[in-house]
Symmetry: C2
Subunit: 238 residues, 2 copies
């Protein structure tokens, strides 16, 4: 009876943790979309909203950490149950970082406002964002459903994001070379592209956490890496 | 006798955690210095070494997390003792991120190698790195010594790092405008400067963790923010 009570109390604690992670996930997903929308439409107020909302995400992460630690201390879960708690803490950390990256883009909106900005330059960024947002959504679904194949699909899909980022960098670089008036605008876009690419990296981190929760060990395969942006700013013969 | 035994076992666990965090700190500090050295001297092998060493840091972070969780489950520490454990986990997370940022700089060395690169452009980066490395060192000392005033000095000192980063961005931008041959090189330096600035942000996070460990609550003051780099890429009349 006592251990049954403990098991039930643990389940309640775990459900609350999972609920909080889902809440964070919803906020983070919306921040990604809104920060890029704000950039494209030069909507300073929306950019500012993303910056403000980030404090909510930070507070939720602290709450998850606190709850997780109390659950471990009170219920002393073992093996698989412990991994559930650690998993929730890890996912919360990645979501908090995703929020920071979206916040950083939100801040840039005010800087872009008076700039020269051909809409076609945003297309690559939009495409990357759609893909990354889908990655984040899929991996959070996989986390909630304990769906390892779905998590692994996200893990492998990050290569495409990296490849798009690299080609976007090359494109932006040619615009900068063509006309110095494009430089400051393109730098903003490069930093935003890099932020989105890093949001994608956090989606793969979450996929690795799902693997750890289910398999009980760290993933050993090396993730395919398509990111060449550290090289893409070097154009031959310039 | 039983509770004395538990207290002693807890102290041993905590000492081991603190030792692991110090080990991570040593590696992270060295990665910062070596990645920037590698950039300045275009030492591709040293850059690669930083990239390789990052896996050690990641492994240590996982070990700290694992140990922390087991200590909480086994010893069920309360209040101040629990904060010590949570503090170790938080500091480990920040050190892991610092390692990622240094690794990112290490990767860039290979991209810079064949580029045009006047040494004077590195001066601002070197200056920033010296400052940030000192911040990281000071805050890790403050963490080890539970020295709140020292931690708060780091917290306040980040403003200077941000200001240097902003002025470096402006300087690099003028070089890019002057001559398109400087563009790709300056972009690399901007990303490196941003990485170093973010390493500084993690030093302030650690300072906040020291505050939390000692005071038992989150810091409520808003940190002074000198970072204007999101605006510094916008040059009027271009």
């Amino acid at each position: 009876m006592g251990s049954e009570h403990t098991a039930k109390a643990f389940d309640t604690d775990l459900q609350e943790l999972t609920r909080l992670v889902a809440e964070m996930g919803g906020i983070a997903e919306r921040m990604i979309v809104e920060s890029v929308d704000a950039l494209i439409r030069r909507d300073v107020a929306l950019g500012q909203r993303v910056v403000t909302i980030d404090t909510e995400l930070d507070a939720l992460q602290r709450r998850i950490e606190e709850r997780a630690v109390l659950t471990i201390a009170r219920r002393q879960p073992m093996a698989v149950d412990l991994r559930e708690i650690v998993g929730a803490m890890r996912v919360a950390t990645d979501l908090e970082r995703i929020g920071d990256l979206a916040k950083n883009m939100g801040k840039r909106v005010a800087a872009l406002e008076t700039d020269f900005h051909p809409l076609k330059l945003f297309r690559g960024l939009e495409h990357m964002t759609d893909l990354v947002q889908q990655q984040v959504k899929s991996v959070l679904d996989a986390y909630a459903a304990h769906d390892l194949p779905a998590a692994m699909a996200v893990w492998k899909g990050d290569e495409e994001v990296d490849a798009i980022c690299t080609s976007l960098f090359r494109e932006l670089l040619t615009y900068m070379m063509e006309d110095p008036r494009n430089i400051s605008f393109c730098i903003h876009l490069m930093f935003c592209a890099k932020n989105i690419e890093r949001i994608g990296d956090h989606a793969t981190n979450i996929a690795e956490t799902v693997f750890y929760m289910i398999e009980g060990q760290a993933i050993t395969d090396k993730r395919p890496k398509g990111d060449m942006t550290t090289f893409a700013t070097t154009v031959p013969n310039t």
